[in-house]
Symmetry: C3
Subunit: 352 residues, 3 copies
């Protein structure tokens, strides 16, 4: 009898505290990925779009979009961590720590930092800290994530419950690590698309990003495959037609990237996502839905030791088939507005 | 009160004669864009497809497809010029002036060269001359365009009417500027796909390009986003479902690129669009339509000082869901054939 | 009267034994194509995905996916060989002979090696040996293919019937030519995604690749255009709506690439297709179908002179809308299972 060669993914009882998983497949990031990312979302941030612009302000060349780096690292973790996940429960303490450039190769590892069986004994929550590195071994991205994973065998005994303590938000001193010293005088606001810099934004300010973008089946499939994210629910209409929604579920990261690109209109100089404090995929998105988005400035912070850039803590909300001029979030009953797809809490940096 | 951060675009009364607008976002063009362009349209011109072929005849390497350069430059002008446009009225005097290579960064500026309020006082025509430059400041593309733009306020007073004088066609002496001296002996016609060179074409000759290509929603959205063209009507099914057509309108440039790629079959050695004299998007295209195309040789011209290449003035007509063996253009009533999408007048160059 | 400029393709009586055809259009392969290929199929083989991984084991850099090389070479042959084909009858003796890297330019030639008129006098079978070369003239791919081609004129007389003798399978001594000497110690199986190497597979072993992938219209059109394959049936809904199936037929190579990418789950270290012995597109695929796949190890072979890699002869079967846990191939009546799309016989190589 030969060994089972196909990977059916790990179940809850397969994980152990402190376990370190080295994920397949290493991935070289290229200008081809940059073009694809542009075609998928219409990002217009000058730093990522133009190597001439990026070099003028202090980058080696145009850095890879932060969300693309995140999608690539997350994609690697899927076969080992979340192939048997029923729900993606949360992210925390996500930090971009070094710029990624075309030509770099990304790899990912995860450490199991928490395990908690659910009372039904059929599922449990797996907490991991995942780390993306470039070919030199530099950490480019680091984050905690927790997912609800099925047990293979309800009766399997599991270890003691460990729930990690995770920060509600990344501290300002940990921001901006992936941004070289910026020559603000060389930062051309006309080319960047907006006159508004860090000083021009106020805590509590809300911004309607106006534009809406409809998502097609082929688009989200191309995106999710580009990230080598093989989570089953995004691609298999044969199974999903018999599933809970009757259709393929769009990768939540596709909504993040689309909302982030839409947020250019109002946040054109927020050129870098420095950290993600947390986020919730409030509702699933399906093909044919049109994404709108709005932002709120939750906080402003100086970054210790940096007078070139400042940080804005932003809530980014995406909604489906609903313009966001009135900033939808919760209904009169206090429950989430049914149109809301995403509620993301992140730190962006802007020139000062 | 904080300033309005989102861009809602300029209205007719926001433009002033002689005004110069530097457009966001600078854009590095890469081999990723070339692959995308190939996947979107199936172009087969050897010069743009093969760096080995391009180098053999005198280019530094394979140049970026002319229409792709045009789309990228035009895309940059949209947020400032045509976000509130009701109609794209015309192009004239469009000239490609230097080759663009992978790695170059494109920027765009526009000068307002004419303004004419319509008699209803609700709209006006804005004439601009838009210029695309590479990272060295060299002009790679220059053209006049006019669009009908809404007024924000019907009662707003506007300046005197100025309508620029624009040439009906680009003169032969201004052609071929983006083409280095070609080594015609090294131009391999078998590899290029056709034995027919400039001498083989006659004024008045019509060519059916035979092939048809169906356009999908995901395809034109990917294309238009690749060009960072954020014109609303192409992407937002939520709004367009309530609009004039009930569906998204495909970017007219998508039809140009598709028809141009289809025209390879009959014009394989017309490897470069040197100038566009004018063009009309006769009817809008929607997803699911199949594009066919035909060409007519309107004129032939020698290019002063060039014995390596000659110019063909071509009419390129694209039609929807209608093969073009009988060269559709106008119906028996003299009105445009309802299947016609595009009627483009341009100068191509061919080896002699 | 001017010459007919458009290419309507060759008919059976246009071919002659020994004829050599140099195909248009030369094509530079780039990292943009690699990104596209990833987004189309979700391949996860480490060697092609990561230049760091590829270099570590002995490649100059990450090689271009073998199937992509095949699609590009085949695409070039279509306008000359199969534009008037009614059926793609078979492949044989297909060998990858040198690695292809981003930046290389591919060209293709075909030699007519057999001709056989059908008894109805309306069609005939054309046998060609097609060869893909890089810009240095090195042969990177070589294969025999035969297609059924229409006659232009039923009464046209044709030459004597010649049917070439083709091997049932490529011999082990001819395998591995496109693979440099591999440093097996540097081949990191965790990064590659599976602990199983050549020794772990047994003749007769069957592997269910588990995952399924739904194909959209836009996706296969983008793919087939990327390969500059202008075969009409893939793109023209206007004609196909009146055709045999009422819809566009997906390029058979799209199914090969999808099944190959799916086969990663169970064959993660079979990083290279070294040869294709034969293959059959059992049924056509249409948009909306979900592809599943399974493999059988038909044979194992040592490669003379190579102790770094061994060869597995694999049957790769793809099925539509049918999971493959029970390895569908033929029904109880001995006829092909109606869900089966592809039955491919190839040699893969794996580290030993």
């Amino acid at each position: 009898m030969t060994a089972q060669k196909s990977n059916i993914g790990n179940f809850f009882e397969d994980f152990s505290l402190g376990q370190i998983i080295r994920h397949a497949t290493p991935r070289s990031v290229t200008v081809g990925d940059v073009s694809f990312y542009t075609a998928l979302y219409l990002p217009r941030f000058a730093v990522q779009s133009s190597s001439a612009f990026a070099k003028a302000i202090g980058y080696k060349e145009a850095p890879i979009d932060d969300a693309l780096v995140f999608h690539l690292v997350l994609g690697k973790t899927v076969p080992d961590i979340s192939l048997n996940a029923l729900a993606n429960l949360g992210y925390a303490d996500l930090k971009f720590l070094a710029p990624v450039y075309a030509g770099d190769t990304l790899t990912a590892t995860s450490e199991v930092i928490g395990l908690k069986e659910n009372s039904n004994k059929e599922t449990g929550v797996v907490y991991v800290r995942s780390t993306g590195r470039n070919q030199h071994g530099d950490v480019v991205l680091d984050y905690a994530r927790w997912v609800m994973v099925k047990k293979r065998d309800k009766s399997a005994s599991v270890g003691a419950e460990v729930v990690p303590s995770l920060p509600k938000s990344v501290e300002p001193k940990d921001l901006g690590k992936a941004v070289p010293k910026i020559d603000v005088a060389a930062y051309d606001r006309a080319l960047a698309g907006s006159p508004f810099l860090w000083d021009d934004y106020e805590k509590g300010e809300k911004i309607d990003h106006i534009d809406g973008m409809t998502v097609e089946e082929a688009e989200h499939q191309l995106a999710t495959r580009l990230y080598q994210n093989n989570s089953k629910v995004h691609f298999n209409q044969f199974y999903e037609s018999q599933g809970r929604f009757g259709k393929r579920i769009i990768y939540g990261g596709h909504v993040i990237s689309m909302a982030r690109a839409i947020s250019f209109n109002g946040l054109a100089n927020a050129f870098h996502i420095s950290a993600i404090n947390g986020g919730k995929h409030v509702n699933p998105l399906f093909s044919g839905g049109t994404i709108f988005a709005w932002s709120e400035v939750l906080d402003k912070a100086e970054i210790p030791g940096r007078d070139d850039i400042g940080a804005l803590r932003l809530r980014l909300v995406a909604a489906r088939d609903r313009p966001c001029a009135d900033f939808p979030l919760t209904g009169p009953d206090g429950k989430p507005d049914p149109s809301v797809l995403l509620d993301l809490d992140y730190w962006a940096v802007m020139p000062r």
